[in-house]
């Protein structure tokens, strides 16, 4: 078995119109910039995929990565906890113009909904959000004298994830705090595509060090020197470069 894919274009070929796509990362850390840009390339060449529902903690920063995906008009709805950043202009303008739908989810609830999706748990109860606007319309139940909000699982058609090292079976490690939502999203999507900076033979990752076991991964693509969103933004980068 070898889950390695030949290139980025092949890696994102399975994303089609109307899909729900989880995109890993917290801000720029752990964001699969090259996979996102490959998706944009396909849209610019073919007009697809479009009408995507994207699940990410944020809503992009500047004009690269997730912000660029939104800027090209491919995203119909965003599910996130914090659609603000140093430069949130792309999402802000589209949201205020009514061009993109937002489902705002508390960050821990977002993480747990994704975990639940991957773990086969259709709903769970959390204290988070009880008594607030974000619990509106949700089932409330009392356990041991305290009120909790029922939250539903989140699943996706595809997850686009950034890991550090991967072996050909899909076992993954992450780099420092770039882990964040990535291991959860690997579990919660029908198809998980991962960009890694190194692909190793089976056994190349110490089993004790595996963070995401390969069962959660369908495809791996090599991006040896991945861009960091923060560096791109400090350099004033835009994707695609010609777009204004």
């Amino acid at each position: 078995m070898d889950k390695t894919l030949p290139d980025l274009a092949t890696a994102v070929a399975g994303v089609t119109d109307g899909m729900t796509v989880m995109i890993g990362g917290f801000g720029g850390s752990g964001a699969p910039i090259e996979l996102i840009h490959a998706l944009i390339d396909r849209f610019l060449a073919t007009g697809h995929p479009r009408d995507l529902t994207v699940i990410n903690n944020n809503a992009g920063n500047g004009h690269v990565g997730l912000a660029a995906l939104i800027e090209t008009g491919m995203v119909r709805k965003l599910i996130c906890s914090f659609p603000r950043s140093a430069d949130p202009v792309v999402f802000t303008e589209r949201y205020l113009a009514g061009q993109i739908e937002l489902e705002l989810v508390p960050q821990g609830t977002l993480a747990e909904r994704i975990r639940a999706g991957g773990a086969g748990i259709p709903a769970f109860y959390t204290p988070t959000g009880y008594g607030t606007d974000l619990a509106h319309g949700k089932k409330i139940e009392e356990f041991d004298g305290r009120a909790y909000v029922q939250e539903r699982w989140l699943k996706a058609d595809v997850a686009l994830v950034k890991a550090h090292h991967g072996d050909r079976l899909g076992n993954l490690t992450y780099r420092m705090a770039a882990r964040n939502f990535n291991p959860l999203m690997c579990m919660a999507a029908s198809t998980t595509i991962v960009q890694v900076s190194r692909i190793l033979p089976p056994g190349g990752i110490d089993p004790e060090s595996v963070i995401t076991p390969g069962i959660f991964v369908q495809g791996l693509v090599l991006v040896e020197n991945p861009a960091q969103e923060e560096d791109l933004n400090r350099a004033g980068a835009r994707y695609p470069e010609a777009a204004l």
Binding site: F26, G27, G28, S29, G30, N57, S81, F82, P83, R84, S85, A86, P88, F91, T92, Y95, L96, L102, L104, V105, P106, Q107, G108, T109, L110, A111, E112, I114, R115, T126, P127, T128, G129, Y130, G131, T132, D133, L134, Y174, R175, M176, A177, A178, R179, N180, F181, N182, P183, L184, I211, Q228, E229, E230, D231
Partner: protein
Amino acid sequence: MTAKLTPTQIAWRAAQDIADGAYVNLGIGFPEMVARFQPPGRQAIFHTENGILGFGEAPAPGAEDWDLINAGKKAVTLKPGTAFFHHADSFAMVRGGHLDVAILGAYEVAETGDLANWSTGPKGVPAVGGAMDLVHGAKRVAVITDHVTKDGKPKLLKRCTLPLTGVACVTRVYSSLAVIDIEDGHFVLREKLPSLSLSDLQSLTGAELHIPAPVQDLVTPDL
């Protein structure tokens, strides 16, 4: 014009109550300042929502590693004993009652312990982040805040008027004028600036201050 503590002095005061070895989450922005004022001999272990326990201070400009950031997306550093984990584990630490203290900012705090700190109303783009999670689970949920708004209106109220972050969650308020506990649905005054009379403090507070024990002087270094 009433004398009041600077934000730095409020942060200093809050830091004095953090025990050695405590697991602490500091909210984005102003609360992050609390980390600078740990008393000598005490070392708290700081948690950040994006999956780090025991991180260190900011690196020198140019030495940032953008895979090593805090919840405010600012670069931090490693320390001996740092641990990384994914987001679901991170919020298990929060909701699961494992943190000793969470220190947050506030727009409004009610005598019931209700907190409003995420939204100023329906205008603009709403954003909540981890605020609604952080108010549940930590053994102590403290707020650091100016005692009044920029317009001089009380931020400590009978009931919040802005959208709530959480219900009955705040246990202590460190304000620019006083230290106030929230117990059984009341503001209980513990410390106040010595230059401020009780009646002046009450007039700047939107709900009754209860005083079951002698009020201590709130004294901080010049910071």
